[in-house]
Symmetry: C2
């Protein structure tokens, strides 16, 4: 395709995107297809000859749009916000247009240095000390694995450079809570710790935050048995309920054993931009690594996850490999991001953050985050005030965990499997309406519903409409 | 930013990209900045207030363009091709515009199913049997780590679900050649094998391909010593010289020990699209996993690496974690790509391949690959016919490894450090000219120059001009 052909098609595509984003509020929120339906709509072989751009563009409407959940919809309250701010989309488009290859600093100095600049901008905005250094990873899952590998190598004194994890006499142990994101156990398993050496430390029954006394007991028990406490992953904002693990106490306990502390703030990290929320992040500066995802609430389009570490030299010692064809005389003066993570090749993802921060400005981003926090507090107040409804966990941020617990046919409050069936019935009814999308999740063995506020488009009126929709669905679902 | 603001800025950006790509041939190929220069050109704090789009756009020209090596330039022969075909850039733009979140099939069925369709298109085009299944990873480094983890868990009978790698009595051993890409040792180390359990198997001194007899000896020795041969990474097209490890023989040896065979065809995989090159890929269908990067020679913009495996169920058993908030009633009927790799969240990267294959068509892609193969053969012929010049390794694909070995002041052919200095002098002169960019690399302990042909824009006339430039630079560098 020539630049002129690209120009013509590109203008059509920009119009399509602008039109699409303008009509998202009128679309059903949840994807509208059955398993296999998209595949069946497509040919089984690749085309030998070029197809007209109009046909490809038409397939976005025919196949793609009905086949995705509209995370940019004002009625999207599922999982966590997955905002794709249009300013960051422009940065992503620029990245594609520049077509650079980041493998070393030398291959694309600007790719490296803009990433240094924007991660440092965000470091300062988040209140982290200057010794912290950040790099963009694809997701917090990968960031957690990288942190886990760094922790493994610190605890084993660089075993990868000798006999590996398999050569250790004393097994390394990892700690997190049962409320941790699924990527945390996954990272521990992939890093080779093994399920037997992963401790799910008890949480407080009301706040769902990790109990540091239980962590202290677990670490002491492992140490007494000749095992090595190596890493704790603390969640600042768990996935289920945005519970806040007590980082200062966790860091204190971990230090007694020389264990690494990784803070998973994938969702909540955006709140670090708000000075009035600083109390939630107390102690984080004393941890060893921190992951947060601007691609969630803050809204820099996926995939933009940040991993910050305090000891970059250690990270590099774990991740570095420098063959001759990648050596250069400027090596000592520059950062080589290939040694800060798993992949060698790197997109110019920093442009997404650069465009987003510059075109929207930090103050507008803060204002939006504050709006969402207020909307969550408003909704929590409504739910608490409504008979038969409960807020199940502290509303630390923008996610409200709720359940309708009406009186059953026997005159007693519904519970057990009947309560689960009721919960799933009304949440399905809400989702089937197309007007909103909520996620169901299990808490203390029972289903509950997470209302995760924070789509860029969601205003108070949308949350009011949701609350009305939810009450109606629950009432219709009966009891 | 509103859709209408996006529309206006988007049109400007499309024009900028079309103009930029049209003028790339007039730019110097190598990045033109010194360490720290880009950082110094940018403010140290993020802007509180929005900046005009014109300012951000102007910074692409002021800061970004001079700060990247122009991999789309017809004079780019560095590393490996890193093509960003404009058809695939359109697909990437569409991905941003749709703004979908891939965490489960349910979150974005089309994101999953288009990926199934395009990876299956390419599977068939590459001649792999139908039991192979593919997924998009960011890079071949990550794909190699995933393969290594799958191999580790097969060899240890799923140790991650028990005591982990650290609980094994018999250490697992990984095998590759000294010519393997740096990501292979890195993956072995990150997977926990340890440097002591990584064998660099001897290569043939002429072809630089792994010697299967040496592999057999190494595996037998490890097995006799009570260690477990777990995985071999064979390169089909090494990074240094595009050497072809003999996969059929390697598979045969590996099978005797039940070891996993991962084929790294990151660069060469694109040649699988050419039926006449099928001989290079003999035996690959009998391996366990295969990585290749359409984001290299084929030209689907970074990051588009494909990992194919024969036993998906095993891969899923290694990678799966399914918490309650990600469970759904349709789970049995669909593919969950989160269980095929490390990250949970997923961009709609399949659109890049979908647009690229549809808008360019497979036949045109094949024609371009054939053009590059012919250009490489032509250049190799010129170099071989020129006194004082050598082609140092078989030209299996589009990369020609060359050295100028003139007669020195003492009347003898230049060798040793003097030869190295000469090589680096002339390659620097070529790169400093701005008209071409070549990579130097070490082979048998001495510097040589890789001419990796395959930028989308590179025609025969460009290669002719390069050969003239190279001879001139070598002559001027003296001897």
């Amino acid at each position: 395709m020539t630049p002129e052909e690209f120009r013509a098609a590109g203008h059509e595509l920009i119009d399509w995107i602008a039109d699409h984003r303008a009509r998202v509020p009128d679309l059903p929120v949840a994807a509208q297809v059955r398993p296999g339906e998209v595949r069946a709509a497509l040919p089984i072989r690749a085309p030998e000859a070029p197809e007209p751009f109009a046909d490809v563009l038409a397939d976005l409407d025919r196949v793609v749009v009905p086949g995705v959940t509209q995370t940019q919809h004002p009625g999207f309250y599922g999982w966590f916000p997955s905002n794709a701010s249009l300013a960051s989309v422009l940065g992503d488009i620029a990245s594609g247009g520049v077509g650079a290859l980041g493998i070393t600093w030398q291959s694309a100095p600007a790719l490296t240095e803009v990433e240094q600049v924007v991660t440092d901008w965000l470091r300062e905005l988040c209140g982290l000390s200057p010794q912290w250094r950040g790099a963009i990873q694809d997701t917090a899952s990968t960031a957690c694995l990288v942190a886990m590998l760094a922790a493994r190598e610190r605890a084993s004194d660089g075993s990868e450079h000798r006999g590996g994890l398999q050569s250790l006499d004393a097994p390394l142990v990892a700690y997190t809570s049962p409320q941790a994101h699924s990527s945390v156990p996954k990272a521990a398993l992939l890093a080779g710790f093994g399920a037997d050496n992963l401790r799910l430390v008890d949480v407080d029954p009301v706040t769902y935050a990790m109990d540091p006394a239980a962590l202290r007991r677990a670490m002491a028990e492992d140490a007494a048995a000749g095992r090595t406490p190596a890493v704790v992953v603390a969640a600042v904002g768990t996935t289920g309920t945005t519970a806040m693990d007590p980082v200062p106490a966790i860091v204190e306990v971990a230090r007694e054993h020389g264990a690494w502390v990784h803070v998973d703030a994938a969702m909540a990290g955006s709140a670090m931009l708000l000075p009035e929320m600083a109390h939630l992040f107390a102690g984080v500066d004393d941890a060893d690594s921190l992951a947060w995802n601007p691609h969630k609430w803050m809204g820099t389009i996926l995939d933009t996850s940040l991993l910050y570490v305090r000891d970059v030299d250690h990270l590099v010692s774990v991740m570095s490999t420098t063959p001759s064809y990648l050596r250069a005389s400027t090596d000592a003066e520059v950062v080589q991001y290939k040694d800060w993570g798993i992949p060698l090749g790197r997109r110019f993802r920093a442009l997404k953050l650069w465009f987003h921060l510059r075109l929207d400005g930090v103050e507008a981003i803060r204002a939006r985050l504050r709006r969402d926090l207020e909307n969550a507090r408003w909704l929590a107040g409504q739910v608490e005030a409504e008979p038969g409804w409960r807020v199940l966990a502290p509303v630390e941020l923008q996610t409200v965990c709720i359940r309708h617990e009406p009186v059953g046919p026997d005159g007693e409050p519904l519970d057990g499997d009947a309560l689960d069936a009721h919960t799933l019935a009304w949440v399905d009814a809400v989702n089937d309406s197309g007007r909103a999308f909520l996620g169901a999740s299990r808490l203390d063995g029972r289903w509950m519903v997470r209302v995760s506020i924070g789509a860029e488009a969601t205003e108070r009126a949308d949350v009011e409409a949701l609350w009305s929709l939810v009450r109606g669905a629950a009432a219709s679902a009966g009891a």
